[in-house]
């Protein structure tokens, strides 16, 4: 049977997933293989070396770099408090005394007689890594962290902003093509993951932030609103560190696009349950998409399959068109002609025939569709 390779976003009622939780530099791993962990449990911890502050003592004391050792009150390795005197000159008249105070608390790392610089290092900062998803530790990477395995619902969005968070799912609209408006978000949604439909405007997202909503999951947003929220235009899709007060997961794209029916139904079936959400997106080689993970089985599911995505399309598969002039339109694959076809732009491309709901059949480049889960 004809089929064509196509990547798609994962929307799975129940799957076994593994999350690597690793420190950026070596530290201490706090969990062992077999441990059951909650999403906010700390599984590894390290100390990030403190920031370094150079102080040009030679300049400040108006002496040659080679002489500064004579004026230092602290030597390499000594601890120092903020405001404490680091070096001072010894004039005949006290009035002319100049002292150099430390701008930070920390230790003296080095004293240079070539440049006259003294390096001060702040105390290390503790960096904890949480489990992020509820599950079981299945692997320990010595000195770096663990791999947590969890079973549950797994939904990928197309684009997100903001980092990892946790909360209870609260579906705030009644259908996937309903807009999430300011009035839909109430005090009841504080600390929760709010699910909307086709779109959330600037007002609704700002309201969510002011209500302490942990994350907003919605079909589409306008780029103009995103710019307003961030204060700048996102140039390349590498996100996850934004601080707008909430995490945002867009499931379909930019514009007003109803959330896929299947995704919406799946989220609704887990309404009221605890979920882990991340907005981190990286669209490069080794792509990373935002995600919603709800541990545990949905009500009517008794078996949890491993990744079932087969990675290609066949006639009969439901698909969504992801580029103009039919952006957002849903249909089923009718046929996959193997030969190159001239499309409207005069390019030669591999295409497929898509049957729309009314029976109309249109031709679309294969690069411009996405498979929908049944």
């Amino acid at each position: 049977m004809a089929h064509a390779y196509t990547p798609g976003l994962k929307v799975m009622p129940c799957t076994v997933l593994r999350k690597k939780r690793l420190l950026p530099i070596p530290g201490k791993v706090l969990a062992s293989v077999g441990d059951e962990v909650g999403s906010t449990d700390v599984v590894a911890r390290t100390e990030l070396p403190g920031k370094v502050f150079p102080v040009n003592v030679a300049n400040r004391l108006s002496v040659a770099p080679g002489e500064i050792k004579n004026f230092m009150l602290k030597k390499e390795g000594d601890e120092i408090k903020a405001g404490e005197v680091l070096a001072e000159n010894k004039p005949f008249i006290k009035w002319f005394k100049t002292s150099v105070e430390s701008p930070v608390a920390g230790t003296v790392e080095s004293v240079s007689d070539v440049t006259g610089q003294v390096m001060l290092r702040e105390p290390p900062k503790v960096l904890p890594i949480q489990a992020y998803v509820k599950g079981r530790v299945v692997e320990v990477v010595p000195d770096f962290g663990v791999t947590v395995e969890s079973e549950g619902t797994f939904i990928q969005g197309i684009f997100g902003i903001g980092g990892e968070t946790n909360g209870e799912i609260a579906v705030a609209v009644s259908s996937p093509d309903e807009e999430l408006v300011e009035e839909d978000i109430t005090e009841h949604h504080r600390g929760k993951i709010v699910v909307g439909g086709k779109h959330a405007g600037l007002g609704a997202i700002k309201r969510a932030v002011s209500m302490g909503v942990k994350a907003v999951v919605v079909g589409g947003i306008h780029d103009r609103d995103l710019r307003q929220l961030l204060g700048y235009d996102i140039g390349v899709a590498v996100t996850g560190t934004e601080q707008i007060g909430t995490t945002l997961v867009v499931t379909e794209g930019f514009g007003m696009i109803p959330m896929a029916e299947y995704t919406f139904r799946l989220l609704s079936s887990r309404n009221g349950e605890k979920a882990s959400v991340s907005g981190a997106t990286q669209i490069r080689a080794g792509v990373m998409r935002p995600e919603i993970i709800v541990p545990g089985y949905p009500k009517n599911v008794s078996e949890c399959k491993k990744d079932q995505g087969r990675g290609w399309i066949e006639p009969g598969d439901p698909i969504r068109i992801i580029r103009e002039p039919h952006f957002g339109v849903i249909g089923t694959v009718k046929s996959l002609p193997p030969e190159l076809t001239v499309i409207g732009s005069e390019s030669h491309a591999r295409v497929l025939e898509v049957a729309l709901q009314g029976g109309e059949v249109i031709v679309v480049p294969r690069a411009n569709i996405e498979v929908l889960e049944k």
Partner: protein, 597 residues
């Protein structure tokens, strides 16, 4: 094996997504590219071995050519008529290419020299640190800590000059204790190419914390740049350290018959060879999904820049952010809502593999591409400059014409040849689209020949040129370049409709063709003779390269597009009024046969 024996060559370029193989065969006295194959690059999980993709791409060449090249995972050498090849060469940009951080004492002097040195070696420069870069010292240290380069180039000071600044940079580097991007277990390679007097101090400070390599100063005096020793060291470390950490590369390095080159270094080398062989000033551009590389050879000086976030898919939204929406809208011959355009570009960013299906969508991508090419060219012009800080001798007559040192080397009037590559230029449905996109972005003046590298063969040829320059240049002329034609653009401004130039071209067999060009119009003359003589007489106030109103005789090339006579004037600007601008664009696009009517 002597170079004369080379008859069959296989070359690959391992890109971050695709590995492309080409077969080159000697036919009579000439080398020709005969077959090509490609396969997905296999650097990432689950394969994590670049040679898998290489073997797959070569297998495709085997199937198409009927020549047996592989014996299992081994390349059969030498060729014995029906089987094997004489040599295998490869370039690589997989795994994000070569990422470097450079540092110099003064930003506009050693900082820039260090940047040019690293870029010319094919690196992506993540940041340029300098004593006077405007950042507070602790910010510099923080920046070094955050970035994880493959290696670092430290320069600063002229030989025998002051050591303080460069020693200070070394101390910052030590305090930051940077880690290499790949392989947490090895020390970060640091190349020191600064003041020779500071070598003992630098060795003392960095010797035990980093893998320090000391080489000749890249700016021995203010008047002289000496980039090659440091560039060679960069290549050595790229092969010895960086490549060794990338999945499968130690294996690949054993397969090749010449050192693996970073892809941009190979493209640069091919551009240089082409410019030298023809005595041309050349501009070559490769516009990809994420980045745009620009190479130039002007007056035998080679320069390369890479604009890391200007591209047509992953970085399309950044082109909008940097150019501004108005600059993209100005190339569109129709009206579109700002919100609609914003959403469309963002949707391309999040689904980078989609393609334009309609003419309208194609025109939007062409508009973005003009801006990406223009911005990358601006960045290139800013770096491809003469040495700054050089003292100039001035006579009294120069006092009224003050020119600073560090003028850009790039002159669009002196530009002889433009080569475009990358999807949007190489695969546009009509070649006129590629040519006009480059004309609009670069605004060449006078006589400029143009071509595209349709299947991006320049990397393969650049690495091959190390072994056989003849083979590389043969294939470059015959199979790599698709000649578009020549652009004739008088410099000057006039009144709409007034005559600005008479022109005539004569082919080697004596055929003549000619006419006149009026201000504000564009003419497209189909003309495919590979060589012809041009005689152009601009009117007073317009310059074709010999000064205002002076006749120009020049060699030109025809091609798949032909001659484009650009009477829009230089400097070229579009009408401010939107409806007038759209009418102009429609008129020019129609004259060029850009889009179906």
């Amino acid at each position: 094996m002597s170079k004369k024996d080379l008859e069959i060559i296989i070359a690959t370029d391992c890109g971050s997504t695709t590995t492309k193989a080409i077969l080159i065969e000697k036919k009579g006295d000439t080398y020709r590219q005969t077959f090509r194959g490609e396969a997905p690059t296999t650097v990432e999980a689950p394969f994590e071995d670049v040679t898998k993709g290489v073997l797959n791409a070569i297998t495709e060449v085997e199937e198409l050519s009927g020549r047996k090249i592989l014996d299992g995972e081994r390349i059969i050498t030498p060729n014995d008529g029906k089987t094997g090849v004489d040599i295998y060469v490869s370039t690589s940009s997989a795994g994000g290419g070569l990422q470097m951080m450079v540092a110099g004492a003064v930003k506009a002097m050693t900082g820039e020299s260090a940047q040019r040195c690293a870029l010319g070696a094919g690196a992506i420069v993540m940041d340029v640190l300098a004593s006077n870069d405007g950042r507070a010292d602790h910010e510099k240290i923080e920046r070094i800590r955050q970035l994880r380069p493959d290696m670092m180039l430290l320069s600063g000071g002229t030989d025998g000059g002051t050591v303080t600044h460069v020693v200070e940079l070394a101390q910052f580097l030590k305090a930051a204790d940077p880690k290499p991007r790949l392989g947490a277990s090895y020390k970060l390679p640091v190349i020191y190419a600064g003041n020779n007097k500071a070598r003992p101090q630098i060795t003392e400070i960095l010797g035990d914390r980093t893998a320090l390599i000391v080489t000749e100063n890249l700016r021995p005096s203010l008047e002289r740049e000496n980039l090659m020793p440091a560039r060679h060291k960069i290549h050595d470390i790229f092969l010895e350290h960086v490549m060794q950490q990338a999945p499968g590369y130690p294996k690949l390095m054993k397969m090749v018959g010449a050192p693996i080159m970073p892809t941009p270094a190979a493209v640069g080398s091919m551009t240089e060879k082409f410019a030298k062989a023809n005595n041309f000033n050349v501009l070559a551009v490769d516009i990809g999904g994420a980045t745009t590389d620009v190479f130039s050879v002007f007056g035998e000086v080679f320069n390369r820049t890479v604009s890391a976030n200007l591209g047509m898919s992953y970085s399309i939204s950044n082109v909008m952010a940097e150019a501004g929406l108005a600059n993209i809208l100005r190339w569109l011959p129709f009206d579109i809502e700002e919100q609609d355009l914003r959403n469309r570009l963002k949707n391309k960013m999040i689904r980078p593999t989609t393609i334009p299906q309609t003419i309208e969508d194609l025109q939007i991508e062409h508009a973005v591409s003009r801006e990406a090419l223009r911005l990358a060219f601006d960045q290139h012009k800013a770096l491809a400059v003469g040495l700054k800080g050089v003292q100039q001798e001035r006579s009294i007559s120069d006092a009224f014409e003050q020119t600073a040192s560090g003028q850009s080397l790039i002159s669009v009037m002196k530009l002889d040849y433009v080569i475009g590559s990358g999807g949007i230029l190489a695969h546009s449905p009509r070649r006129t689209q590629s040519m006009l996109m480059m004309i609009d972005a670069y605004q060449p003046e006078g006589v400029t020949r143009m071509a595209v590298d349709s299947i991006f063969m320049m990397p393969h040829l650049g690495v091959l040129a190390q072994i056989s320059e003849k083979a590389a240049l043969d294939v470059f002329y015959h199979d790599c370049l698709v000649r578009l034609g020549t652009c004739l653009a008088p410099k000057g401004l006039g009144k709409e409709g007034e005559k600005i130039m008479d022109w005539e071209v004569t082919t080697p067999d004596g055929r003549k063709q000619g006419g006149e060009l009026r201000f504000g119009e564009m003419q497209h003359i189909p003309f495919d003779a590979p060589k012809a003589k041009l005689s152009a007489r601009p009117v007073k106030g317009f310059d074709m390269g010999s000064g205002s109103g002076n006749r120009v005789e020049a060699e030109i090339e025809g091609g798949v597009v032909g001659l484009v006579l650009d009477g829009r004037g230089r400097p070229f600007s579009l009408a401010k009024d939107a409806s007038r601008r759209r009418a102009d664009l429609n008129k020019w696009y129609k004259a060029m046969g850009m889009y179906p009517v």
